[in-house]
Amino acid sequence: MNLQLLQEVTAFIWQEGDMLDHGEYDTWLNLWTDKGTYIIPINPKETDFENTLNYAYDDHHMRELRVQRLIGGESISTSPQPRTVRTLSRFRVLGDDGMNVTVRCAQNVREFRKESLKFYSADLTYELIRAGDSFKIHRKLISLINSDDALAGIGYIL
């Protein structure tokens, strides 16, 4: 097992999670490749995300719009903004061809907003591309364990 690579990708993904929990959205937007996609599917068995309905299928433009919606103060479901703490663990490198690294990990998010504490558990699968001594995110796939159940509003970035 390549422990150095595991440590590198873990540090990168932990950093991304910390940015999202602490509202550092500009920095977060810069973590992505130009063609990077942020996907939250509905059907756990789906593989063709582009041609099916998802909760989110964001390119760079939609990620920018999503951030703007969260911080813009125009949306009653995100003001007050939810507070989140996410725990990322169980990292496993699924593939590495020297340039692209695929990593899967577990994410548990706790969210508090307006008298209500909620949580979401998901498998995250990252396709990372090496960029200098770090990575860029080419795809982040968020597979909620209850994705095919009826959900409540999610007013933050998973």
């Binding site: 059907n43 041609n51 309905l53 909760y55 719009l65 125009e74 949306s75 009653i76 509003g153 999610i154």
Partner: protein
């Protein structure tokens, strides 16, 4: 079906709760009323259960609910559609727990009783213990009266009510117009967002015929779209209208230019669709069909509310399912062109994701507003919900009553039907 036990013993007269310009707050908060609504509305009229594209083949099925009762919508070997109560006639277990799928039969997991796709009881394991005390023909799954119009399948527990088409009445022509967004390919429902909010179902029902909230609640959505789209959605002061269509149904026309998607195909293609049009032309699609697709791709300019549980809402079906007096589940079913160009269908999928669902730019804000209504309605139990907007300008129309686009005419229509059914 026979009711051996009367389930509704209301201590209030529902007719006292609905006036011509307001409804009583207890409509959102009284659990006894909620139980009565299940009986007198959800178990007494036509309830939408599926679009035909959701069960395309022999053996295709989906499971859903009518009120609180689980049902299976299934297409049998002869292509006929059945809506079956999802319970085994032996000891009551559900015979199917999947959301959708394809099967040859339904077999109860408890003791193995097997049913054909039309609900008839076919097999009982180890029948010898019953000797001659069971007649399989007397114990089919309960099959509800099922009718459809424009591809929309409805079912009812009542054998003695009017036909579906009579019930839909003036709403039918709007359903036909709505289906034109298939652009000649037909309508397909390939998925849905399912969403719950802590509030009464009628708060959601009202919202589908509420143009008034749009610029305020959906400000963040409007900020996220191009200028052309923003101008299109600036309809509150526009020439649109709301029309009461009878039987609790209503239509809210927000964008009159988009009532008939097959009209005006010679008009210039709006700038926001130029890239899509170019891609369609590159695929070798003829200019007239390109225009038809592009005009249909964003959906219609109206919301059609069909009392009580479904709406044809611009570009999707909105389905509501009452859970309790203070909880409602909503399905926003996406619509694509069945067999249409993938690039156009991707446009529709992304459009749906943009507004709808738990992470959309629209639905969560609606949900927040509805949740606030429910919370606020727990204050001032003697107060009324005001529904008098647009009343002074309301006029008789061919199909009922009409007023301006942000009038509460559609809500008044729904509540008059509520009153009629609850008083029956």
């Amino acid at each position: 079906m026979n009711n051996l036990i009367p389930t509704v013993n209301l201590t209030v007269d529902p007719a006292d709760l609905v006036q011509s310009d307001r409804v009583h707050t207890s409509m959102y908060t009284d659990a006894q009323l909620f139980d009565a609504e299940l009986e007198k509305i959800f178990y007494s009229t036509w309830i939408w259960v599926a679009h035909e594209s959701e069960i395309p083949d022999n053996g295709s099925y989906k499971t859903t609910y009518i009120g609180k009762q689980p049902v299976i919508v299934v297409r049998d070997r002869k292509k006929d559609v059945h809506v079956l109560l999802n319970r085994c006639r032996h000891r009551g277990a559900t015979v199917c727990e999947h959301k959708k799928g394809k099967t040859n039969s339904f077999v109860c997991p408890y003791h193995g009783w097997g049913y054909a796709l039309d609900g008839s009881l076919r097999g009982i394991p180890h029948p010898e213990s019953y000797a001659d005390c069971i007649d399989k023909s007397e114990l089919p799954m309960i099959s509800l009266r099922t009718e459809s119009y424009a591809g929309m399948i409805f079912a009812t527990f009542k054998d003695d009510i009017e036909s579906l088409e009579d019930y839909l009445g003036a709403a039918k022509k709007w359903m036909d117009l709505f289906m034109k967004q298939g652009a000649g390919y037909g309508i397909k429902v390939p998925g849905e967002h399912r969403f719950r909010f802590p509030g009464n179902w009628k708060i959601q029902l009202e919202n589908t015929t509420d143009a008034y909230h749009f610029p305020l609640v959906h400000k963040s959505f409007l900020s996220s779209v191009d200028e052309e789209t923003m101008a299109l959605f600036d309809f509150v002061k526009g020439p649109g209208y709301v029309e009461d269509l009878g039987n609790g149904h209503s239509v809210m026309v927000m964008i009159p230019d988009l009532i008939d998607l097959e009209a005006d195909l010679d008009k210039p293609i709006p700038e926001r669709f130029e890239a899509l049009a170019a891609e369609l032309r590159d695929e070798g699609i003829e200019e007239q069909q390109v225009r038809r697709i592009v005009r249909a791709v964003g959906g219609t300019g109206f919301n059609l509310n069909l009392f009580p549980n479904v709406a044809c809402s611009m570009a999707f079906f909105r389905v509501l399912q009452p859970i309790s007096v203070t909880e409602t589940e909503i399905h926003h079913s996406v619509i694509t062109m069945d067999g249409g160009p993938a690039v156009a269908n991707r446009y529709r999928l992304r459009l749906h994701e943009h507004f709808q669902g738990p992470m959309g730019f629209g639905t969560p804000d609606d949900s927040e507003a509805w949740e606030r209504v429910q919370k606020g309605a727990s204050a001032g139990e003697d107060l009324w919900i005001m529904l008098n907007r647009g009343l002074p300008g309301e006029q008789p129309s061919e199909d009922g009553l009409v007023s301006d686009v942000s009038a509460e005419t559609g809500m008044r229509a729904a509540y008059q039907q509520w009153k009629k059914m609850m008083s029956a």
